[in-house]
Symmetry: D2
Subunit: 169 residues, 4 copies
Amino acid sequence: MTQPITDAGERTRTFTWSDPLATATAVRDLPGLDAIRMVAAGELPPPPIAELLGMSITHVDRGHVVFALEPAEWMYNPIGSVHGGVAATILDSSLGCAVHTTLDAGVGYATSDLQVRYVRALSSTSGRVLAESRVVHSGRRLATAEGRLFGEADGTLFAHASTSCLILG
Amino acid sequence: MTQPITDAGERTRTFTWSDPLATATAVRDLPGLDAIRMVAAGELPPPPIAELLGMSITHVDRGHVVFALEPAEWMYNPIGSVHGGVAATILDSSLGCAVHTTLDAGVGYATSDLQVRYVRALSSTSGRVLAESRVVHSGRRLATAEGRLFGEADGTLFAHASTSCLILG
Amino acid sequence: MTQPITDAGERTRTFTWSDPLATATAVRDLPGLDAIRMVAAGELPPPPIAELLGMSITHVDRGHVVFALEPAEWMYNPIGSVHGGVAATILDSSLGCAVHTTLDAGVGYATSDLQVRYVRALSSTSGRVLAESRVVHSGRRLATAEGRLFGEADGTLFAHASTSCLILG
Amino acid sequence: MTQPITDAGERTRTFTWSDPLATATAVRDLPGLDAIRMVAAGELPPPPIAELLGMSITHVDRGHVVFALEPAEWMYNPIGSVHGGVAATILDSSLGCAVHTTLDAGVGYATSDLQVRYVRALSSTSGRVLAESRVVHSGRRLATAEGRLFGEADGTLFAHASTSCLILG
């Protein structure tokens, strides 16, 4: 993950991942809480998206998950800040995993919708941010969750979000 | 953007970007339609997020923008499909740029919220997808837009979305 | 539905409805398109909410329904315009009925979420408004739809919305 | 608000309201917290929508407002439950008023969007429900809030919601 700058001012980043189906297959047969805990602990390989964005899991509890990420220049949009999709991705990760921790082994889920409310732009100087999500409703067919994206250092709020997930029994 | 596979089954990808502030500064002083057209034509450097995800712009008109992206293994989540944040990112890009094309030089915008509805999972075999967005309301303080993410080959719908953007006069 | 004004400047409105379970029971056993057509044609009693707000159905097609309503003083919020809940209610009605028209006899649905984007305030002088909705995705477990609320006279947009509905097979 | 049943099984309800502009005008010149407190205390006439749906305010604090409502047969949709627009209306009321309590005299707001997630149907036997909302972000141009709709007796969750409001300085 070095970021050398070439003569022409270009930067590069290299990331590495492994076959995502190994984790996906293992995850399917585990109680959700165990599955997310194993990913968090590095006992299962992280999914490629985590390598792509440099995301990690810092807390896992039943219905409550926290992800972390370091905003960087290579995430920028054309208007001079970190692209909103990065906040959406880490919030979606923590929301989905929060729901996942409530599911029994063999039960899957699929995100039905994600809504993100942006309240402050992220930049490469924002410092590490945490996406903390909690399940609000855990039903037979549907689960919902809410999350916050804030600065680890001082709690500054950058975005908040909610989701609805279909439970695939 | 080669993806060599190591002995241990690991894959790597390297991407390259340039200082995002060059484009951001140029964009600020242009009518929005001209700015997005220049990015689409490669006359302004693409923002880092476009390099990160391999996104390109395939159509630009006033209030109507299309982005393209090739779903890949390196975008996967822990449950065996392309992470929903990828669809959110390309939809947010096309929605925001559609709004941007309606703005005069010197007028900025900030996404206030993004909602994505997922109707079918993306995988590395989905083929190239297009995110097509159109402005619905263009007001003095707020603009809204709607978008669709579908397969280029056969029009299969994967997600749809809407946004609200604050206009920063 | 007279609106007499008393000495003290008070206004009153009286509305009438019949047992909603009669319609609900009939609706359950009909193909959705037939059910909504019968409600629109007055062959089934309108639901109480339609009497409460003076809503009627002006168009029914498979996946495409239009509701109408006359904004009035008795719908006002404390800040001098028609309450946003009125737009939400008529949009939710047309969105839900649009989904309903795609369902077979014996198949039900439940709205999972509703998002309304308000772009212009409604007042008692806005004139009759139409809420027109179309199904976007019709799946086995979930259906989505989008709608617009606009003035019947000149098409002025007041709000737009989208929904996701759980299909109860 | 009597609900006589006629020979033909028809029910009627009559409600009364006063000129909404009296309250709207008074509200405009007050600090938001004072304005909502005066409406809650009956020192300003309730807005018509409150009479239409039988809504009242049970708690007002800075950034925190609770509304109450009794679900009833006259709020029913055609599929046998209280129309989702009723939950949307009381949640929108509490969300908007929570934002309003944070505003200075002379500062207005307009709801930009409302999203409601329905997790359990309301019926005429649900008992009184409370819509409790809190401001999440209070900015110069935009404020956001989240709310819950739950049974007063046992806390059963029926819906939750979030909003974004434009601040009109």
